[in-house]
């Protein structure tokens, strides 16, 4: 029983999130974790509206205090580090039982940044980036993870979408690690995973020991993921990209993902990873894989194909982060001492090192129930983005790109031009999914398999047209029919894609072909 006057008193004292912040129609993220809005304080005066600080407001999915919400609040309340997202305040909305978390707003994240580079590369437009940007990013990621690890907090879900980078402002170009996988281990999913945001089920950053059935998350598992992110920053391609069908959460063993890892790294020798025999899924591994299939594979060759030489310090560090044997993998502390970080250019606290930021700002997502309002917002935001883009492209020629790391990569107007052609409905590239969206993995297969979809032709599993070349998204091979693989083709330039890679974008009617830039739908 609760006291009436106590309720009245606390209710009068309580600040409501909607009284303090303006965020209607400003949704910038949507996932299993909930909704994220870009918010401004309501009490900021009209005059300084443009300079006023942005906040990120996260409305936690569902109502009340789930275990993951509890863990997130409990840990973030204690954690304080420049490279870890800072929880400013918690709002509890007693009426609808919603929980809101207030953070500083981060304009960028590595998922969007890498995507932008990839598009630029495909478009063969030079993209100038700050000298040593990759090094600065990696150093700050390691710094943040070292702080978490020394406090016995494991991230458990590191991937580009969870590495945020601050935009213009006092913390310009600073990495913020976000979305610690607070309860991934303990939450039995209420819904089948296919219904959820595929972000959750990305296996690309999973360490081999997890795929072989390791039962406990460790610091080494976070380090592997950092290695994957480092490689992806160096090459703009997810190093262990793998199609993501057959995802079963109950079983950690994932044949295709292991196959992909071995295709890049080579098959692990017993002397390189002695305890591999002790892994729960080792018998399955022996049954399913032949060492001889991977004799020509090595990280050296893979990175060499992407123009990263084996003599470079970057490669040496990468190799230590991506050791198959978790007991031999480098720690975050050791990694921060690596010679790579002592070599010029030195890591910078602003990863953009004062150079203009070429990446577009976050766009607002449209909600079915608030279309009119957010459309206006969207247009406004687009205008801002185009302006920004304009600025940066005119400046880019005056900035010299670094000789190492991300050298002269093509720049592209793609990300900014896209909204003009966009049809109403959810836009995929604004979602923080790893190339997929929450809008429905299931719908994809149907649409992609049943012939043409608005400028796209679907095929696979016995269709007459078979794809040639490589997937324009993942640059991976197409397998034969027996694999049951599905693929789609851009009708404008005839470029082929794995359905897994681009099919869902076609399904959403708003996809733009990465090769010819033709928008479908």
């Amino acid at each position: 029983m609760m006291d009436y006057e106590f309720k009245i008193k606390t209710s009068n004292e309580r600040t409501k999130v909607e009284d303090l912040f303006e965020f209607e129609g400003c949704k910038v993220g949507r996932g299993t974790y909930g909704h994220v809005y870009k918010a401004k304080r309501k009490d900021s005066t009209e005059k300084d509206k443009d300079n006023v600080k942005d906040y990120a407001l996260k409305q936690i999915e569902g109502t009340g205090l789930s275990m993951s919400a509890c863990r997130e609040i409990a840990l973030l309340r204690e954690l304080k580090h420049p490279n870890v997202i800072n929880l400013i305040r918690v709002f509890l909305s007693h009426n609808d039982r919603k929980v809101w978390l207030l953070f500083d707003f981060a304009e960028h994240d590595l998922w969007h940044i890498i995507k932008f580079h990839r598009a630029a590369k495909a478009n063969k437009k030079p993209l100038m980036v700050a000298k040593g940007m990759v090094k600065s990013l990696l150093y700050q990621i390691l710094d943040g993870i070292h702080y978490l690890h020394s406090n016995w907090v494991l991230h458990r879900d590191l991937k580009p979408a969870n590495i945020l980078v601050m935009g213009e402002g006092i913390e310009r170009g600073r990495v913020k690690i976000a979305d610690m996988g607070f309860a991934r281990l303990f939450n039995a999913p209420l819904k089948p995973l296919a219904d959820l945001d595929p972000v959750v089920v990305t296996f690309w950053y999973r360490a081999p020991e997890l795929l072989l059935g390791a039962r406990h998350y460790t610091k080494a598992i976070d380090i592997w993921a950092i290695g994957c992110i480092f490689a992806e920053l160096l090459t703009s391609e997810p190093i262990f990209h793998c199609r993501q069908e057959d995802i079963k959460t109950s079983n950690p063993y994932h044949h295709d993902q292991l196959d992909r890892i071995f295709n890049v790294m080579g098959f692990p020798l017993e002397k390189e990873w002695e305890d591999i025999r002790k892994m729960p899924e080792h018998p399955t591994l022996i049954k399913d894989f032949k060492k001889s299939n991977y004799t020509n594979c090595s990280l050296i060759k893979y990175m060499d194909r992407h123009k990263i030489k084996q003599e470079s310090k970057a490669f040496h560090l990468l190799q230590k982060l991506l050791l198959m044997d978790p007991t031999r993998r480098i720690t975050s502390e050791q990694a921060m001492q690596d010679p790579y970080f002592l070599e010029d250019p030195l890591p910078n606290s602003d990863v953009f090192a004062g150079c203009p930021i070429p990446y577009p700002k976050r766009e607002f997502l449209t909600d079915d129930d608030q279309d009119d309002k957010s459309d206006a917002n969207k247009r406004q935001n687009q205008a801002a983005n185009q302006q920004q883009q304009h600025r940066s492209s005119s400046l880019s020629t005056t900035n010299t790109a670094g000789s190492g790391d991300v050298a002269r990569e093509p720049i592209s107007a793609l990300s900014c031009a896209a909204p003009a052609a966009a049809a109403p409905g959810p836009r995929l590239d604004r979602l923080d999914a790893e190339g997929l969206a929450l809008a429905g993995l299931r719908g994809l297969r149907k649409r992609a398999a049943s012939g043409s979809v608005d400028g796209w032709s679907g095929g696979g599993g016995g269709a007459t047209a078979s794809p040639d070349g490589v997937c324009q998204s993942c640059f991976g091979k197409f397998h034969d029919d027996t694999n049951g693989e599905e693929w789609i083709q851009c009708l404008s330039c005839s470029g082929w894609y794995h359905a897994k890679c681009q099919g869902l974008q076609a399904y959403l009617h708003t996809f733009q072909c990465l090769r010819c830039k033709q928008a479908a739908g």
Partner: protein
């Protein structure tokens, strides 16, 4: 958060001073004597302990729940929320924070009903009155009043380290551990950092068992005065226990306790 007590919310926000406690309790101490107030908290700490044991929770989780409970009433009158509702709410919240698996609210309620009926019939003659929605509502108020500080440092971990240093002594360890459990029935968890509580509990255990570790204690660089203060709190609890018969007194105490009013007064 193992290595980080000095930056924790526990250290920065939740080590209160004695004067704070006296001031905040004024409302309740108009109705109850200080001893009666303490007896009520002993009773509810026992309730949380037994509820936690029935739910098969680890001692760490039970201790965290007890600290939440004490922190709430360190800032609020007993009349604001019925402690019989707040106690299970604290247990539920602590089990979520400490990662020992979610206890469903229905299991929490069922266990409460069983515990009230089988273990505390000497205190409550009626059934456990609360349902899931009461717990859910209460949880928001609890979190709000804790200012979202959910990570609590306990004396158990420092105690383990101290015991290893003193030379593994199973008998000493298990007694000191139980003294730490007892310390949850006092205010020390609101007033002193956990490592000091651990040292005080170890010292008490040494005295009880007649083990002489004076030299070892002398080498610890701690504020001996603080340790003495903690020791006095715990010893006075033991003194109280000698004469106190909870089963006889508790019904009258619960009747006297300030209670919530569900509708506007006057």
């Amino acid at each position: 958060m193992a290595g980080n007590f000095w930056q924790s919310s526990h250290y920065q926000q939740w080590l209160l001073d004695k004067q704070d406690l006296v001031r905040e309790r004024q409302l309740d101490l108009q109705v109850l004597s200080e001893e009666e107030y303490q007896k009520l908290f002993i009773f509810f700490s026992n309730f949380i302990q037994i509820l936690g044991e029935h739910l098969k929770l680890r001692q760490q989780v039970i201790a965290t729940a007890t600290v939440y409970f004490k922190r709430f009433y360190a800032r609020n009158s007993l009349k604001y929320i019925d402690p019989l509702l707040l106690a299970p709410t604290c247990v539920g919240l602590a089990s979520k924070v400490e990662e020992f698996g979610v206890i469903s609210n229905s299991r929490l309620i069922t266990t409460c009903s069983t515990v009230v009926k089988n273990k505390f019939s000497y205190a409550y003659t009626t059934d456990f009155p609360y349902r899931t929605n009461n717990i859910l509502e209460c949880e928001f108020y609890l979190l709000e009043n804790l200012d979202c500080c959910l990570i609590v440092y306990q004396p158990y971990r420092p105690l383990i380290q101290l015991i290893q240093d003193i030379g593994n002594d199973e008998q000493l360890f298990s007694l000191a551990w139980r003294v730490v459990n007892d310390s949850l029935r006092t205010d020390v968890c609101l007033l002193y950092p956990p490592y000091q509580i651990a040292i005080a509990c170890l010292e008490i255990a040494c005295v009880i068992l007649g083990k002489d570790h004076k030299n070892w204690f002398a080498e610890l660089s701690v504020d001996i005065e603080k340790i003495q203060e903690i020791t006095r709190y715990i010893i006075s609890l033991f003194e109280l226990w000698k004469t106190y018969e909870e089963k006889k007194d508790i019904q009258a105490l619960l009747a006297k306790m300030p209670k919530p009013k569900q509708s506007p007064s006057r």
